[in-house]
Amino acid sequence: MRFGFTEEQDELRRSVRRVLDDAGGVAAARRVMLAGGNHDTATWQRLARDLGLAGLVVPERHGGAGLGWVEVIAVMEELGRALACVPFLSSSVLSTAAILAAGSDDQQQQILPPLARGDVTAALAWLEIGGDPDPATITTTARPAPGGHVLLDGKKRFVIDGASADLLLVVARAPGTTGTDGLGLYEVPGGASGLRRHRLPTMDATRALAEVVLADVRVPETSRLGGDATGWPTIARALERGQVALAAEQVGAAQRCLDLGIEYAQVRHQFGRPIGSFQAIQHSLAELFVMVESARSAAYYAGWAAEHADPDEATETTACAAAFCADACFHVAAETIQVHGGIGFTWEHDAHLYFKRARAGRTVLGSPSFHREQLARRLGLGVDPDETTAPEAV
């Protein structure tokens, strides 16, 4: 029984941290924010090319490092700690997982090598207006067109890095289908005719979200990843990988918040003593500590399960980690502002950057209440008794 990382995994983590620290940590995110940019491009180039993060989980035969989801956890924790503005989650995790899950070998061979090199980035266009993660609400259609083509029509929102990606992976359904039926994943070049996209102005300026409008965008039939055989379950599996990665990012961000709070509680004096000597502050920070450590256990376990557990356990584990880490990160970030008092309310202090990232993380890949509802249904709650049976609790 060993819950920790290997020496190689720790070294990867340290390398990522070094690059991010060199870039100035959260100061880099502030620079991107101030410039209104999508990414810290220079840092991404170092991470993507020098450290090979762009192709971290891409198999070696497609030009990647061939590593796994435990490595992704370590990397995401560091990216969360620095609120790094890089397309790792959107391109190297979500899109790559989708291509790996859905793409035929030929498609993988065609798409993955440039992604793995960091030459291009991809984004997964999944949510639509309102951002409901229920796939039944997807209305974007994929209509067969003459000459072996498909016309994609609809509007996607909340697409992470969707305005800057070179390649979009669009979830669309066959006309007339409902629920999870008829859903497929289509590869769309960023310059496709009929494709319009723009970045959405967001509270959290450290992660770029886009709206993507597809007005009868014509793509060849062969751009459907995996062809007709690949549907929603495959896409859902890729989203799960993203959810695990996001949970780890939230752990890294929450840990950084807690560190800031502990540090401040020792230097800030009131009533002639450090505020960290007062039980009110101590107990608040102690609760945050338990929350962060629990979130860490959840994210690590989910990373392990993504690689080693059967798909059913991985799904359940992911939902648990996603809900728990999103809640924990938000609560920790909120309390960090409180512990800092007035200074924590300023634009100058970093607390709000973490708080806003934590807020955004609650909806970008499904909300905690959505994940809990999924779990409840797995437990046979709120469903027709014949529909499912409850697994054992432990």
Partner: protein, 394 residues
């Protein structure tokens, strides 16, 4: 990360399971599910006999060092034993205070003569122990104990009062934290000793405390010149505080996963009730049930993570949150159970005050966040040891 038990461990599990099943579906089947927190009054004499059965089979002292007459089993084997014990719904232990608290203390800090006198009867399941720590004036502030033990010739005479002593009415012996120095100590933690006192004697009166559950599993113990030989001190005279703290540090979390199996059974009962009475149609209750499920999972992963550190050295920091987590979770589970049952939650099993199992969970769990270090004390400990925050005003 390696988060599975080995094949050898699983073989050991099968052996434990077979042994328990043979007995608990055979001669001892009436003991299944009896005893334990909130149910200590059940089948006491039969459970006393069960302790000897466990002892004869060699299951007591699994984790004690071989040099002290134990099996020296690795931590994971102990974990497996606890898991299987819980899964088999084997009866609540009466000998656990002797086996898990006193014996490791004697093995580590006792003399050879003390080990030879006290450990074998515990290992045989013949001698039951209770812990004399808390006093009416020393609850969270344990160093405030005033029970004193004067040396008269070669005998210690103990005078004072202990409270919240589990199993005092059944125990043969008590380990008592008491004052052995006549002069007032410079520090309150000095002048204390860890004394072993036989319970069956004239100078001791035991009075059960009726709790809000209506049952009585804790006692008050009055010492009025109770006698014990002067060599029944563990560690040196005056070193009682260190010994008492050592006793608490022997807890390596071996029983945590077993405890969680009991929790899972309670949660399963709630899920079953919600599906049966339609409470699962209430989305808020569904969310809370899913949240409880997540909380239980996260506690399991926390426990695996702590176990992954192995048995040597300091307990990892994240282990400090364990008591706070499970007690808070369990208390909330009791509240959830009542909300799921709705109006029927009010109706007890039988007059005058027999409770249903979920009512027992609801009421007894109020004690969880108080005994063995209240939640407030747990947070103080986390603030000091895990976060390094400065001491508060005292």
């Amino acid at each position: 990360m390696q988060l599975r038990f080995s094949a050898e461990d699983e073989a050991f599990r099968a052996e434990v399971r077979r042994w328990l099943d043979e007995r608990l579906h055979g001669d001892y089947r009436h003991l299944r599910g009896r005893g334990g927190p909130g149910r200590e009054h059940e089948m006491v004499e039969e459970r006393r006999a069960w302790e000897r059965v466990l002892g004869e089979a060699g299951w007591i002292g699994l984790g004690w060092p071989a040099a002290a007459g134990g099996k020296g089993a690795p931590l994971l084997r102990q974990v497996i034993f606890h898991e299987e014990y819980a899964r088999a719904r084997a009866p609540g232990r009466l000998g656990h205070i002797g086996e898990y608290l006193l014996a490791p203390t004697i093995a580590a800090l006792g003399t050879r003569a003390q080990q030879e006198k006290f450990l074998p009867p515990i290992a045989r399941g013949e001698q039951l122990w209770c812990q004399g720590y808390s006093e009416p004036g020393a609850g969270s502030d344990l160093a405030g104990v005033t029970t004193r033990a004067e040396l008269v010739g070669h005998t210690r005479r103990v005078t004072g009062q202990k409270i919240w002593t589990s199993h005092a009415h059944l125990a043969d012996w008590c380990f008592v934290l008491c004052r052995t120095s006549a002069s007032p100590a410079a520090k309150r933690h000095e002048g204390l000793s860890y004394l072993l006192v036989p319970m069956r004697q004239d100078g001791i009166t035991v009075r059960p405390i009726r709790q809000l559950t209506g049952t009585a599993e804790f006692c008050e113990v009055f010492f009025d010149g109770a006698r014990t030989p002067e060599d029944h001190v563990i560690g040196a005279v005056g070193q009682g505080w260190k010994v008492a703290m050592a006793t608490l540090s022997f807890e390596r979390g071996a029983s945590t996963l077993g405890q969680q199996i009991g929790f899972a059974a309670e949660l399963d009962a709630i899920i079953h009730a919600a599906r049966h009475n339609g409470a699962d149609r209430d989305p808020q209750l569904r969310q809370r049930i899913a949240d409880a499920w997540i909380g239980l999972r996260v506690m399991r992963w926390n426990a695996l993570r702590v176990l992954g550190h192995g048995e040597g050295g300091e307990l990892p920091r994240e282990a400090l949150g364990s008591k706070l987590s499970w007690s808070t979770w369990h208390r909330r589970l009791g509240e959830l159970a009542m909300d799921v049952l709705g109006a029927e939650a009010e109706i007890i099993a039988a007059a005058p005050y027999a409770l249903t199992p979920l009512q027992e969970t609801f009421l007894f769990s109020r004690a969880d966040t108080i005994y063995a270090g209240s939640s407030e004390i747990q947070k103080n400990i986390i603030a000091a040891r895990a976060l390094g925050l400065p001491r508060g005003p005292t």
